[in-house]
Amino acid sequence: MCSCRTCVPMIACLSLPAFELRTALLARPELHGKRVAFGPVPGERPLLGSCTYEAEQAGVWPGMRLSEALATCPDLVLVEQDPAGAEEEWERLLRRLEDAGFAVESAGVGSAYFETDGVERLAGGLQQSLRRALDAVGPTWQPRIGAATRRFTALAAASVAPAGRVVVVDDDESQLFLEPLPLSLLSRTPDRKRELSELGIKRLGELARLPAVSVADRLGADGVEAHRLARDEDARGVRSRHPASELAEELEFPEPIANEQTLKRALAALLDRLLARPERAGRAPRQLALSARLVGGGSWRRALTLREATADPERLGLALTPKLNEVPAPALTLRLELGELKDSVGTQAELVAPRGSRLRERLREGLRQVRAAAGLDAVCTIVEVAPWSRVPESRAILVPRDD
């Protein structure tokens, strides 16, 4: 938007829309320019995943019911989701950005943040450094970059940038820039979005103009967070990842395997092999990723982060084994990756307790880990159904949490 700026660190957001679908189509060039969408995930609701531009032009959209989509667009081609392939490709792109000198934070497949100040001197300016990032990614992915002094504004800028282009939002015009943009950028829950829409709030500017106290009263902590972002008061920085240090092992089965016991044995063998690798040099992994190539060409992948790095095969097995139940189809290969390898050191308690979104993020991750270890019903909310009842066990029930 503007090329002049004061010397404040800029945050850039790289966005690769429909990245997973593009990855899946890499292996099928004959589908280029066709109406293509991700088919439903086996065992889940029959809803479409990402769609190509051509499919959306034909009236099909992500989240549409499969039957409705096929009735609307009879020549729609469905492809299997390939999360493991997308993850591998994304990792390759992140490494290319790191090779170009950027310290990146991945915000999920297809989206990453990085600060530009380190590279600006090398590249000769902000625009040049962002161009360098685009070149590192390559034109195949139609990357777009937004840059601003605030993280959320950078995301908003990336959402309006044309393919292969950069949009820089200057600090003094960021509120004006955010004003007309849709609330969908805030990635609130569908219920919250509906609630805001019913209140007549559809743009970031409309939300930003509301008094903070009223927002807190009506929408709670979630609303306060959204209000803060809409007012361009996002204080989050970029937490760049540590240089990737990974070990991986893969087992190829002579025939497709759906038997849980066999998969468990394969997982144990992979763990043994990885823990015995000399490159590990006594370091313990904190991140684990289990993936499988499935019959029919699709893939499956689950990544998890341990609360503490450990090289104890029993604990690693306990964390990984429940994931095997989620493999949706017979597997042709099983692959295990160990990431964030760390030397064993003492744990340092935090001086300042985490607050706000960071605390919520940690809580969510903690709950996710509890569910992974103890089952989906392990984390519950107490719901009072008859607090007046004289019978104690009728006063409240435990309802599993969905978040």
């Binding site: 519950c380 009842s389 019978v391 104690p392 066990e393 409240a396 029930i397 435990l398």
Partner: protein, 89 residues
């Protein structure tokens, strides 16, 4: 209000909170003398609940709020069949 296992509307994942648990109680003329082999030091309170008498599963309980000799505070009740349960009241 609360679906019971086996009844229509029951979901596997929803559970009742504070369900009564079987308790080992030795009573003397209907009043607990020992809970879990620990002698009762004091009966702090006693009350009765009669509820859902209009249903096929009426609730009739006699509750005791007790202090054991170890200093522990427990609440137990006996139902119509004379079975004993512990529960947080």
């Amino acid at each position: 209000m609360v679906a019971r296992p086996g009844e229509p509307g029951h979901t596997r994942s929803t559970r009742r909170l504070n369900e009564p648990r079987d308790a080992l109680v030795a009573a003397d003329r209907g009043v607990p003398a020992e809970v879990g082999r620990v002698p009762v030091s004091l009966v702090r309170e006693e009350w009765r609940i009669v509820d859902r008498w209009w249903t096929e599963r009426p609730v009739r309980r006699r509750y005791f709020d007790l202090v054991l000799e170890t200093g522990q505070n427990v609440v137990v009740f006996s139902d119509e069949q004379g079975r004993w349960f512990s529960q947080r009241a």
